[in-house]
């Protein structure tokens, strides 16, 4: 029952900001409060005037969750600027103070990582009279091959904690083979949340719209925490956290405009453009591998032999000379890298092609650290011959264990 956390933390999908998610909700007929997206303090104050609501929420917009309990730090001094990345303001002056403390500062939350995220976007939203806070989420259940809807009366809090302490407080329903919830599931869920009358009706309507939005927009997660019941019985999505399945981006061109590049690692984007899958880590041994599983296994073996991987890098099945050159360049940009292990098990990829690419790439990027190459599979002997006949300084091995041992030994030498 930790599925929420798994999905929430994952970078599996294309993430968007709360204000963008709420714009989608509005388009889909899911009830939200009036709100304005701002990037300056002046805009925030104008927004306060235009919303004609005495009380507003001033909300930091970053992709990580846990904003309300996060802290803002000044990027220059590192000093604490303000506690809480989401503030309730009841005057124009308060909006000004909070906006100044948020925009241009670094928000660190439980989910943002220790470095936090610079806040460049703000959402000013009209307040409402809250009678109760609920939790509602839709996500892909990989074990049941269906969309899972989860709801709880314990909204506004850390849902992982609820899952841990009172799992019975989380109610679940799955879509059936038609891609919809089975008849009566929405009613049953409303009942288990204790919703009656017009609140029950608006919950059912919202749930129906969310399920069809999840499908039509190829979401991988929609999380509303909190979903609130107002004093007059309306159900309103007071938050939105939406991720899309990137595999389906080709049929949703509108997503491109929603992408916030400042939320993504520049080097990972660059790697992606070349068909590479790269994640930077903290160690000193660069890895270049074909296949995600083998790449992870290579990292594991390096660690078991006493080294620390500097990165995950899967060159993919369509690798060529250009992408391998890019891969070497990206690995060597990392100043911590003191050696590189290439581990190729040829299938569709031919080791001799990789060997020639390595030679060209090393000339182009000026390879200056020890290189160990393990070839196995398709054309491994040819690949080895190409490397050995070249002037490149390289250690060739035939097993993963030998490769890990050799690169760890070579990089320990660098340290000493």
């Amino acid at each position: 029952m930790r599925i929420v956390e798994r999905q929430t933390l994952s970078r599996e999908g294309v993430n968007i900001h709360e204000y963008q998610g709420k714009a989608l909700f509005r388009e889909e007929g899911v009830a939200v409060q009036e709100g304005v997206h701002c990037t300056t303090v002046d805009q925030a104050m104008e927004a306060y005037d235009s919303l004609e609501s005495k009380v507003v929420a001033v909300k930091s917009q970053i992709h990580a969750g846990g904003r309300g309990k996060g802290n803002l730090y000044c990027p220059d001094t590192g000093n604490l600027q303000m506690e809480g990345g989401v503030k309730i303001a009841s005057s124009r002056d308060e909006v000004e103070t909070y906006s100044k403390n948020i925009l241009g500062n670094i928000l660190v939350t439980k989910q943002s990582g220790p470095d936090g995220k610079m806040v460049n976007n703000l959402y000013i939203e009209a307040g409402c009279e809250i009678a109760h806070e609920y939790y509602l989420a839709l996500l892909v259940d990989r074990e049941k091959d269906a969309i899972l809807v989860m709801a709880s009366t314990e909204g506004g809090v850390d849902i992982e904690e609820v899952a841990e302490t009172t799992p019975q407080a989380i109610h679940k329903a799955w879509t059936d083979s038609s891609g919809k919830l089975p008849m009566g599931a929405d009613s049953a869920m409303a009942d288990s949340l204790g919703l009656t009358g017009s609140s029950k009706d608006s919950f059912k309507e919202m749930l129906g719209r969310l399920v069809s939005m999840f499908v039509s927009r190829d979401c991988s997660m929609v999380e509303i925490n909190p979903l609130v019941r107002t004093e007059d019985g309306a159900m309103i999505a007071l938050d939105s956290k939406i991720s899309f399945d990137d595999n389906a981006s080709f049929r949703h061109p509108w997503r491109a405009e929603m992408r916030d590049m400042s939320e993504e690692e520049e080097v990972e984007i660059r790697a992606n453009k070349s068909g590479l899958s790269y994640v930077k880590l903290d160690g000193n041994i660069g890895c270049l591998v074909n296949g995600a599983g083998l790449a992870m296994a290579s990292m594991d073996v390096i660690k078991l032999y006493g080294g620390e991987p500097a990165n995950f890098l899967d060159i993919g099945g369509g690798a060529n000379k250009e992408s391998i050159t890019t891969a070497f360049g990206i690995i060597l940009e990392d100043q911590n890298v003191e050696g590189i292990l290439v581990n190729i098990f040829g299938g569709i990829i031919r080791c001799d092609m990789v060997a020639r690419s390595i030679i060209d790439a090393s000339r182009e990027v000026g390879l200056s650290v020890p290189l160990v190459v393990r070839f196995s599979g398709t054309n491994h002997e040819e690949g080895r011959n190409v490397l050995e006949e070249s002037s490149l300084e390289v250690t060739t091995v035939s097993t993963l264990a030998d490769g890990a041992e050799a690169i760890v030994a070579a990089t320990v030498g660098v340290d000493a």
Partner: protein, 282 residues
């Protein structure tokens, strides 16, 4: 595939029906639809390389053709990057056809080595395999080849190697494969390769503890992967205490599966397991 010995009887590409393709040692016809292809050739298996955006529809077309014409069939889908909801719809569709089995997507396929060549449906390098008594199941592509190389390094061949793919939503899972290996008299031990993310490994371990009588050697890739980061495969993500390599290893141990924490030691562990089970001379 034909070079390895697979009996390829035809191909399907819409708009290219009527053409003939020359493969090593034979020429085969191309059809416009799976329905025509299955009717004309009586094929048992199809392998799908269709681009991601059309792949789920291709799986459904193949399933319908096999189901209507023969009532059974095996579909192997190699394609990577199929939209998740397409796969959910696709699995829902074929789950109503008891005779249809899907392997993948995003997998290297399935291979059964024979005395000389064998049957290969996929993209793995055939020559690294040899006929033997070890079954291999893996979520990963190239890591499956590594497992094969490990068994070969200790003089053991394979009965069948199945790459089930690392996508969040896929067809045949670990348990389906274990059940098949339990039934297969030629398989005497199994190597199972998992990956971080999801709970398929834990579920399979729990199932195996009650239902699987042969020794299993297990490895899970991604012990060093940081939480919350995507590691290439859409499925390979860990976070928040579920789906970590450590949890999967301990689920394996609890179920009596022999673990190899070092993937380069899978062969060694396999040897000790076979000796322990009295299947190999010390």
């Amino acid at each position: 595939m034909t070079e390895y010995g697979t009996d390829v009887v035809g191909g399907v590409t819409p708009g290219k029906g009527g053409q003939v393709v020359d493969l090593p040692g034979r020429s085969v016809p191309v059809y416009d639809t799976m329905g025509q292809a299955v009717s004309e050739t009586n094929a048992d298996v199809t392998v799908i390389y269709v681009p991601a955006r059309f792949a789920a529809a291709a799986i459904v077309e193949a399933a319908d053709a096999f189901n209507e014409i023969k009532g059974e069939g095996l579909i192997v889908c190699i394609t990577e990057g199929i939209p998740i909801l397409d796969m959910i719809r696709c699995i829902a569709h074929i789950s109503e056809m008891p005779g249809i089995r899907l392997i993948g997507p995003n997998c290297p396929g399935i291979i059964t080595p024979g005395e000389n060549g064998g049957c290969k449906v996929g993209i793995m390098p055939g020559y690294i395999h040899a006929k033997g008594r070890i079954g291999i199941i893996s979520k990963s592509g190239t890591l499956t080849y590594e497992a094969v190389a490990q068994t070969m390094s200790v003089g053991e061949g394979q009965t069948t190697c199945i790459g089930i793919g690392g996508d969040p939503i896929s067809g045949t899972g670990f348990i389906d494969c274990l059940a098949a290996f339990e039934e297969d008299p030629e398989t005497e031990a199994v190597v199972m390769i998992g990956e971080i993310g999801g709970t398929a490994e834990e579920d399979a371990a729990a199932w195996a503890a009650d239902n699987f009588s042969k020794p299993i050697v297990g490895f899970v890739a991604g012990a060093t992967a940081p939480p919350g980061k995507r590691m290439g495969h859409a499925g390979a993500i860990i976070s928040g205490g579920k789906g970590t390599a450590e949890e999967k290893f301990s689920a394996f141990e609890k179920a009596g599966i022999h673990i190899a924490r070092d993937p380069s030691k899978i062969g060694e562990v396999l040897v000790s397991v076979l000796i322990e089970a009295g299947l190999r001379e010390p």
